[in-house]
Amino acid sequence: MTKELSDVLGAAEAATERGLPAFDHVVMAKGVTRRAKRRRGMRQAGTGLLAATSIGALGLVGFLAYDHFQDVTPVVTPSVTDAPNPSPTGNVDWPEVADREVTTGVGLPDAVALTGEAYATADTGWVLAIFDSTKRSNVSDPVEGERVLYLVSPAGERFEVANLTRYGAPYLAAWDTERQVALIVEGRYVALTLDLASGEVTHEWQFCGEGGYMKAEDRPGEEWLLRGFCSGEPLDGIYTDDFTFVTDDGIVTGGEGITVMDVGDVQVRYEFEMTPAQSFRAYHPDGTEVAMQPVGEYIACYPMGPSLSGGLAVQCWAEGDSVTYWNLDLDGGPATPITTSATIGAIEAASGGSLPAEGAVVTGYCLAGDQEALITSHPAVVVLDEGSPVVVTNGEYRATWCFGGVGGTVLVTGVGPLWTWDAASGITVTLLPVPEPGDDGVWVGAAEGGAIIHP
């Protein structure tokens, strides 16, 4: 007799439950309760994973952004009263966070000081970002402005976490979302950890006196995976909050001109200015090392991060050609295209003939849940849904880069502003706006300090 699928699945779950070993539910409940309490506001070890983008890629973005700046960016004013209700039952004891001033000044977005509620409820889709209100111009030197770290809700409500103006060029490298601790790298010299609850820098480390490079990823507990170099020597390893070296066992080391990225549990090492066949190597956890097949006709490719198909997404270019994106296989199989002629055709069709002379320039690639998004220099975000490109124009901003995504939402930046774009609804939410540039060609402010979206 044929059975109903729902009955079969229900029976399978019930049978699985019966076959499970015994659990100590008292201990289990205590453990879960303790973790939930900590996450509601207390400091606690936890897990997370977010990586900073590379200096090289940012350089390209900066170049493209500078060249194409022209869009007007409306300001979204945050409102505490617009914040989500803390609870339908009311009387919620949000954790206390330290009082802090709200930085005001030309070019800075409206914001309120971080609240206990925002601190405790920051979850998937919330964004941590640094805004730099430095005045910039095509014709004169920049004029230093305030630099502020904001926590921003998915609805665009901004909460000031800390003023970082005393740091020259702070870049948000990693965010431990369980403990609410940020790791920030200042230019090429200093790394620091900052506690969101207190708004204070908890540790500072001058990792290179001569100017080096560092990026970071959160690791379980009070540890970070730091990758970078100083004077050509790699820094790669696990470090504690106070920047004490713990270990580099199992970590593929990089160095100057070498980038190492994690793709799942595989580490990919990219060496700059090597021949394509020598550029990418995959180091699997079982110790095997695989030379990844290059993309044939392209003179150079640059690693972007994990791809939707499980490999490494790379940005490739050939002389006189548009940038294209490819998936490199971690097991040494042939590269497969992410951008295709269909993708480019869709971009061109959506552009209505307004594409710049060089055609569609694809500047960024991000995973956002089960979607992969290409960011183009045309004001559009291209989302690839299993091979079928969907182009969504964004009339407000010119997109240049993405900082990642979660669940179909892409965190996108342009020349200054920062916003999210939802693949399903097409809705954009402005997180960090910039004012319209004046007639003198001077504009203020940019989300240049990096941004991370809560996974």
């Binding site: 109903e4 699945l9 229900g10 779950e13 019966r18 499970l20 070993p21 973790r35 803390p86 996974p455």
Partner: protein, 178 residues
């Protein structure tokens, strides 16, 4: 004691095993299922959600489990190797699991892509509507319909089952899926 704590303790006491079983059908690894359930419980009870009943809380946690499962699989991507690795600590599946159809149910589910598996689990094991499933997994409803349709077709082929309930037999959408 905060108001949410008794609800959490009761949910763990009464429904923890069922939640592990549900997660196991997604992960096919008891250790992973335990981690998934714990993380989902923590996430569900550390946010702003307030639950009116155990059933309400369980449904919420089941959605969180499916959502986190899809997220974790996407991060690791290379899940096929994990699916093939069957290492279950002190666990023997019941006879009912092995006896249905040409292959056991867990193996059949493991053959489905993670998103499809999560959609099927939410629709058939968590009684979530298409809209609720789409919300939990941050997919469009069209995509959920397509994934569920794909899952049903594959499972019916592998398990020799049918779906006769119209509510549970989403029609494959024509045209775009967005």
């Amino acid at each position: 004691m905060a108001t949410w704590e008794p609800m959490l303790e009761r949910l763990v006491r009464e429904r923890h095993r069922a939640l592990i079983a549900y997660a196991y059908l997604l992960t096919r690894d008891v250790g992973d299922a335990e981690d998934l359930v714990q993380d989902s419980l923590v996430a569900s009870f550390s946010g702003r959600a307030r639950f009116e009943s155990i059933g309400h809380a369980e449904a919420y946690v089941r959605r969180a489990i499916a959502s986190r499962f899809v997220d974790s699989r996407r991060k690791r991507e290379r899940d096929k190797a994990r699916v093939d690795r069957v290492e279950i600590r002190g666990f023997e599946p019941g006879h009912e699991v092995e006896a249905v159809g040409r292959v056991d149910v867990a193996s059949a589910l493991a053959e489905l892509p993670p998103r499809v598996r999560a959609c099927v689990a939410l629709r058939f094991l968590a009684d979530q509507s298409t809209a609720e499933t789409a919300d939990a997994l941050k997919l469009s409803t069209g995509a959920v319909k397509r994934y569920v349709s794909d899952g049903i077709r594959a499972l019916n082929t592998m398990l020799g089952t049918v779906v006769t309930d119209e509510e549970r037999a989403p029609v494959r959408p024509t045209g775009g899926v967005r």
